[in-house]
């Protein structure tokens, strides 16, 4: 496999496991009623519990539990009806309690899996080890004052799901695909917004290398990487670093490292010897969390169609390509756009959805995404609604306008915001399929280019395209190309 790193002494396999911290979408924090909105003024979303005032007690937020359960179900994971909150004890200025409430021995979600799509149209299953709920810490700001550190507790106590994968990934690409897929899934079910740039998804990356087929090597953990690109860069760097050490006869020290995005390297943060002893023990302020099966079942019922199921349905029922299906399901809004457009298009053309699905999927992944890309917009704020798109494509499919004209109409739609039918009507862009009119244009062209007609008839077949072009030009592109082709052939060959 090309995934191996070619070292001086042979091949090396990279082994990657990810711990993704995903901020739970909820109005309030995991154990307090304080709000969770991003970007608020420092220390404006802090309750007495979040600031660890004496005598304050945590109370579990049911919505966060529900979101974790839904996430577990979406990953096909076991939901543990009994789970326990533990205290992870360590001192830091932005950790007001002096401990983080987390789940250690008994997490809320057990084993599951994620199917990732790889570039070569293949897919692979990455195992999920567990998901547990925990509190986020606050934020230390070291750049506000020359000698002081400021602390913002807005994030203190916000619910995180720590989604722990098995060490199943073998390349930076796979890690990237895994993160993208995870992000797609949590966005589908609305349990996390997946915005890595805002810190609502962050990853701890565990990397080790080994000779193919051998035992796992010693791993290093790269903490808190906040973009997919950085995750991939850090893996590539770290794997190469480890290979270099091993090939020089050295040993990998188990340690925690940090990724420096500016220089693209990882640096040691603390060694195993310096690792904290977190002194986990069950939080005596909280009773064990007991869920009943009926609650879990209800959550399962309420899940939307998930990307894998949607993709399979698109391919099987609608006959679109696997590539198009993957692109469309990557974002729930794209898939919804496609389905809305498809329903409208089927109605307008009087055809079954599966007969127009390929055209619609090609149009979205080609025309629309191209245009949005140019505009720097996402499909969420597409200037062309699904119904408008269906109107345009219907005109093309029923032969009212040609594909060429359709592109122009789309341009005008983007500029003017007008509907396709209105534009076609206004500008007189309707395709001419009237054989009489077209015949007249053909005759004209043949008369004007008598010499070329002779050449063609003398065997220069390539000139056919020239005649088509000339006829289309005379009709200002409105002639139905199929009709033009047929008639031209008939007349030239006569």
């Amino acid at each position: 496999m090309s995934n191996y790193i070619q070292g001086a002494t042979g091949d090396w396999e990279i082994v990657i496991g990810l711990e993704v911290h995903a901020q739970v979408i909820s109005q309030s924090k995991l154990f307090s009623g304080a709000a969770t909105a991003f970007g608020s003024e420092p220390n404006t979303q802090v309750s007495l519990v979040d600031s660890a005032m004496p005598g304050m007690l945590p109370v579990i937020n049911g919505e966060c539990v529900r979101q974790a359960v839904r996430t577990g179900l979406a990953l096909g994971a076991t939901i543990n009806l009994y789970s326990v909150f533990d205290r992870k004890n360590y001192f830091y200025a932005d950790l007001p309690q002096g401990y983080q409430i987390s789940q250690f021995k008994h997490p809320i979600v057990g084993e599951g899996d994620v199917v990732i799509d790889l570039d070569n149209e293949q897919s692979k299953v990455v195992g999920i080890e567990r998901i547990h709920l925990e509190q986020d810490a606050g934020k230390s700001m070291h750049d506000q004052h020359p000698t002081m550190t400021y602390v913002d507790l807005n994030r203190s106590g916000v619910a995180l799901m720590e989604i722990v994968s098995k060490p199943d990934m073998r390349s930076a690409e796979e890690a990237g695909a895994y993160l993208r897929k995870l992000r797609t899934i949590v966005r589908y079910i609305g349990s996390c917004d997946g915005n890595m740039e805002q810190g609502s998804m962050r990853a701890d990356v565990n990397v080790s290398v080994r000779r193919p087929g051998e035992e796992l090597g010693t791993r290093c953990e790269i903490k808190n990487v906040n973009s997919i690109r950085f995750v991939q860069q850090s893996i590539d760097y770290e794997a190469r670093r480890q290979v270099d050490i091993l090939e020089d006869g050295g040993q990998i020290d188990q340690e925690t490292r940090l990724f420096d995005a500016n220089s693209g390297v990882t640096r040691s943060m603390r060694s195993k010897e310096e690792a904290h002893d977190y002194r986990y023990f069950p939080d005596p302020d909280l009773l064990p969390l007991q869920l009943d099966q009926a609650f879990v079942d209800a959550q399962k019922e309420s899940l939307p169609e998930l990307p894998d199921a949607k993709k399979a349905r698109f391919i099987k029922d609608l006959g679109i390509t696997a590539y198009n299906a993957s692109v469309l399901v990557a974002e729930q809004v794209s898939a919804a756009y496609f389905e809305d457009m498809l329903a409208d298009l089927a109605k307008r053309t009087g055809k079954a959805e599966k007969d127009v699905a390929t055209a619609a999927s090609n149009w979205i992944t080609g025309e629309l995404f191209g245009a949005l890309n140019k505009l720097g917009q996402s499909i969420t704020d597409s200037p062309i609604a699904a119904g408008q798109a269906a109107e345009l494509l219907a005109l093309q499919l029923d032969g009212t306008i040609s594909g060429r004209i359709a592109k122009d109409v789309f341009e005008i739609m983007l500029e003017s915001g007008k509907g396709a039918e209105e534009i076609v009507e206004e500008k007189g862009l309707k395709q001419v399929s009237d054989t009489g009119a077209i015949e007249g244009f053909i005759d004209q062209v043949m008369t004007e280019n008598a010499a070329k007609v002779e050449e063609y008839r003398g065997g220069k077949d390539k000139l056919f395209g020239f005649f088509v072009g000339q006829v289309m030009k005379k009709t200002q592109g409105k002639a139905n190309p199929k009709v033009v082709n047929e008639m031209l052939k008939e007349k030239l060959d006569a």
């Binding site: 005598g55 304050m56 007690l57 205290r87 004890n89 001192f91 200025a93 002096g98 002194r279 909280l286």
Partner: protein
């Protein structure tokens, strides 16, 4: 007017309702008494202005007929209850100057019923101690002295300020908290009644935590009836405390029927501990006789894991404390001693802010939770704790309530045990098992030692059966006819 301070809570309530005196008059007599009793060091902070304004509000309620049993009753509040804008430091220097912006659920319940706050009372630092000698604010002196001796005695702990204030009649009653005996043992040392309710009966919200799975608030009062009245006000289900239990609060006073005929009282053989003075054994035997005389059936029982209770407690409680006290780091409130670095600031702040006993327990707790020791200590202790709870559960299949001594001795002298932590810890030997099992317990004054010091008997009940505990306590109280009061040696200057 000074005799107003001699009234029990029930008597004061009745006098207020009858209009014999006003809440302001009652409060005034206490404020005056407090001024003459400063050498007891029971109060850390007096709050007379609040007291009078609360008393006036109580008088208004007494007039308009919205008064409750606690309306107009002047109380001492243990310093670890958070009281809005008032010193709430758990008698620790590390919370130096801390005044919360919130009110604990228990005190709020009392104020909602119209009670009056006289001030915040002394305690062992973070409730860690059995003699009230670990307070940053200095030891509390027991109002009682042994006959013919001038030696100053401890009031018990950790609720030593509470017990001393009630015994010295500088509060009608007081709030306390009990983690391993901190209500019951000081009550026994001061001739007062101390009731530790079932774990989960009173909300812990706003009570500065020591050991979360054990801490429980309760009253220290002059009589069993007073304890019943006050507990009814303190107890509530609180959604802010996940460990509080949603079960209705009964009319505890109504349980004091005096009729215990046919009730089965268990006498655990394991509480005949070595080295317990004869006085204690004698008063225990006397208690058994009194209950028999009242028609109860006495049953010998065994609580086989009792001997493991103290070591178990001294693993579980410090473990939780070591984590609960991590928040006192100099960053957010209270004391901060600045240093060269963040770690330096932590070390300096905590070194200066915590007293020796607190440090000792943080060290023990940190140790027993450490990697490699957790299973041998903390996990094992939790298992033993379950066995202790099972001992009680088995016993309650045969009996309705258990009678034991409260403490293995009468009040001892200041400084007598403070240099030997292990000897100090032995004070909790009879109270800790019920704490570990989360059961309600009451200490009722049963008589005097040969030296003329009060001795208490403890009743331990089924979970949420405070009614039986109070009922039997009432019978013991009536039989004991305990009417002795400490000779008033303070305030002479």
């Amino acid at each position: 007017m000074t005799e107003l301070t001699a009234l029990t809570l029930a008597e004061a309530r009745d006098g207020l309702v009858a209009g014999d005196f006003s809440a302001r008059e009652l409060t005034q007599s206490y404020v005056t008494a407090m001024e003459t009793a400063t050498e007891l060091n029971a109060y850390i902070v007096d709050t007379p202005e609040q007291a009078f304004s609360m008393a006036d509000a109580a008088d208004a309620r007494l007039k308009d007929g919205t008064a409750k049993a606690m309306t107009g009753i002047p109380l001492a509040i243990k310093d670890l209850f958070c009281t809005r804008d008032v010193h709430s430091c758990s008698a620790s220097h590390i919370l130096n100057g801390f005044q919360p912006q919130y009110e604990s659920t228990v005190t709020q319940n009392l104020w909602d019923d119209g009670a009056v706050m006289l001030g915040k009372v002394n305690m062992d630092e973070f409730a860690m101690g059995s003699s009230n000698e670990t307070s940053y604010y200095g030891p509390v002196r027991n109002p009682w002295k042994a006959s013919g001796s001038e030696k100053e005695l401890v009031p018990g702990g950790s609720s030593g300020g509470s017990s001393a204030a009630v015994a010295a009649e500088i509060a009608v009653a007081a709030t306390g908290t009990d983690t391993g005996g901190s209500i019951r043992q000081p009550a026994a040392f001061t001739g007062t009644v101390g009731l530790k309710p079932t774990y989960g009966r009173c909300s812990r919200w706003g009570i500065i935590a020591f050991a979360s799975s054990l801490d429980q608030a309760g009253p220290i009062t002059r009589t069993v009836r007073d304890a019943a009245i006050m507990l009814e006000s303190m107890a509530s289900f609180d959604p802010k405390d996940t460990t509080s239990v949603d079960c209705p609060v009964p009319n505890y006073e109504a349980a004091l029927t005096g009729d215990i005929r046919g009730l089965k009282v268990g006498i655990p053989k394991e509480y005949h501990a070595d080295g317990v003075p004869e006085d204690i054994e004698k008063i225990w035997k006397q208690g058994i006789e009194w209950l028999k005389d009242a028609g109860a059936e006495v049953v010998d029982i065994s609580l086989p894991h009792t001997k493991y209770a103290l070591p178990t407690y001294y693993i579980v409680a410090p473990a939780e404390a070591s984590s609960n006290l991590a928040r006192y780091d100099g960053v957010k409130y209270g004391l901060r001693v600045t240093g060269e670095s963040l770690d330096d600031m932590y070390a300096l702040t905590r070194a200066e802010g915590f007293g020796d006993e607190v440090k000792r327990r943080i060290l023990i707790g940190t140790y027993v939770l450490s990697a490699g020791y957790y299973d041998a200590y903390y996990l094992k202790a939790q298992k033993v704790r379950s066995l202790i709870a099972r001992d009680f559960a088995n016993a309650y299949e045969k009996v309705d309530v258990i009678l034991t001594p409260t403490a293995p001795s009468a009040a001892f002298a200041l400084g007598e045990k403070s240099s030997d932590p292990l000897e100090m810890y032995l004070n909790d030997i009879f109270t800790v098992p019920a704490s570990l099992a989360g059961l309600p317990g009451i200490s009722v004054p049963a008589g005097l030692s040969q030296d003329g010091l009060p001795l208490g008997l403890q009743l331990i009940g089924r979970a949420f059966d405070e009614e039986t505990v109070l009922k039997v306590g009432g019978v013991l109280e009536s039989a004991a006819q305990f009417s002795a009061k400490p000779a008033k040696w303070w305030g002479a200057k």
